[in-house]
Point group: C2
Chain length 331, copies 2
């Protein structure tokens, strides 16, 4: 590849919008050396997560590159929210079939908007010629011992979610041009499309949950599959009351069975699912008053697995629990 193509790609990623999206003293050395150097705050631990996104697996083959840039970073940052961490920096490993200037311009713009929204700086990565593949590694920090893990849920805890469920799957139906229900307004379509392309990692909520929640994660594989992760890691049973699951007005346009299916198994919602000691219940109304759409959807009990009540009492689940791509070592 000719040298001018290198210079060209650098022009899109080595920008102030990406390298200095956040006013962070943590980046001691950014892009341009063999590696970047981070200086975590005093008493802080580093939180690290890696995700890769492939066309046809994690997003439709037909996509707007700017939205893809936003979504790639948002999905990765959601793992920091799920640990109650504060974002610091990220790296990008990008494989591209060819140098396509309009694509690079749009993609890097979407990425930069997300970097600003989540206060996170690009500190390195690389770009290679190959089938489209986006690898994002995010780094955050959290005070020592304050990370929100999956293994602390205890019997009598409350099970809560931080926002509506099922919108990710409904949003995918909208962006894929599926048949839509007649009652879904244009505003509703737009809302769902945004929920798919611009998920909002619940960073502020994660930080409120530090030291209060006993366990937590972000709903990426689907409520049931992710609840199973908490149940397994904590060695408890989770009871979920289907009647309590929070549903957006837009999702409410679909038939009830479809709503339920997507809320339970849809995935891609990127809201936090967490457990709270019953004594922490008074916090919930304070957090709601501060704008966090928290809903109690169930409770924690001795036992194992996820039990769902769809109107006939709690029963254990059988069969497929959610969308599961190849495998995540982080799951």
């Amino acid at each position: 590849m000719a040298l001018d193509e290198f210079a060209l790609i650098g022009r899109y990623f080595r920008t102030a919008q990406l390298e200095r999206a956040a006013d962070s003293a943590a980046v001691a050395l950014g892009i341009g050396d063999d590696a970047a150097v981070l200086q975590p705050g005093a008493g802080q631990q580093l939180v690290i997560s890696t995700d890769s996104l492939l066309a046809g697996v994690h997003f439709p083959e037909q996509y707007p590159p700017a939205e893809l840039g936003y979504r790639a970073l948002a999905v990765a940052v959601s793992d920091l929210a799920a640990m109650a961490a504060t974002p610091l920096a990220f790296t990008l490993a990008l494989s591209l079939p060819q140098v396509d200037e309009p694509w690079l311009q749009a993609f890097s713009r979407g990425l930069a908007v997300a970097a600003r929204d989540f206060s996170i700086n690009l500190i390195g990565g690389d770009t290679t010629r190959g089938p489209l593949n986006l690898g994002v590694t995010v780094l955050g920090q959290v005070a020592r011992g304050q990370a929100m893990r999956r293994d602390g849920a205890r019997g009598s805890d409350l099970l809560c979610v931080g926002g509506p469920l099922g919108d990710g799957a409904a949003g995918l139906a909208v962006v894929q041009g599926s048949d839509l229900p007649p009652g879904l307004s244009l505003a509703g379509q737009d809302y769902l499309q945004q929920r798919f392309w611009r998920p909002q990692p619940q960073l502020a909520l994660g930080q409120l949950l530090r030291g209060v929640a006993t366990a937590g994660l972000d709903v990426s594989d689907g409520l049931l599959a992710d609840a199973e992760h908490i149940a397994q890691a904590s060695g408890v049973a989770l009871h979920i009351d289907a009647a309590r699951l929070p549903c957006s007005e837009a999702l409410g346009s679909w038939p009830e069975l479809q709503q339920l299916e997507w809320m339970l198994r849809g995935g891609d919602d990127y809201v936090l699912l967490f457990t709270l000691p019953a004594a922490a219940k008074p916090h919930i109304s304070q957090w709601r008053a501060a704008g966090h759409a928290i809903t109690i959807i169930g409770s924690v009990h001795a036992g194992s697995g996820v039990l769902l009540d769809v109107g006939k009492g709690y029963a254990p689940l059988t069969g497929e629990r959610g969308y599961q791509h190849f495998r995540s070592l982080d799951d």
Copy 2:
């Protein structure tokens, strides 16, 4: 994908050989949650580098999976050596066209051998179905302000390399089954093949250079291209004396012009290239006595660019300087 395939892939990567390759107190939380948590030592900064490797770009389409596993980690860890950092942990983002048990077994074994050799633990990542793509992010630590950067070379410094040059390119010729010179012994072929598949990041040398070297990096793109990186970052001219370039006995089997070409432009050597104040010259013989094959190959001067003496005095370079794949944001 069926659940048993998930469990199957996990079996290869969630092993003691990979998760606890190093006796490291730094990993506060490893694989299994939304993200990993690292606790850097007191006064330490985190060093982070991301690399991706694609078949046909970074390694031949025909490859032994165990060797690929070793090489993928070695190449990434070399960026930590180039910063004078100590390895802590790494993540792996793996795209695979299908679940292939013999492949996974061999690849994860090679990866585990490298993890042991470099004392580094696997802390997360993910695996997706797609064209083969290996994304490795390595994390290391270095005392505050002690990272070896590219921008500190000053006029009158010495320019040194930490080992032989050109072996990476000659090794590639061997593994690709190219015509080999008649004088190259079987032992020589084996040496070069190992140099290609199992490059040895110069971690110990990097740590010796902390606070002594004024600038440094690892030779991955080729001596001239990488020297240019130091010259540019430091705002100096680098003079290289071709007659001093260190050449292995095996490489010496090729015609002299081919040797020179590979030593200058071959890349993939993963030896350190660094600058030392002239006053540090006494260190060199101590380091050599300790087993580090350091060679002074030139010097630093006011000016810009890389000047090469091939017997007729120092002259600036023109044209292509080394192997350059698409682009690295870390360059």
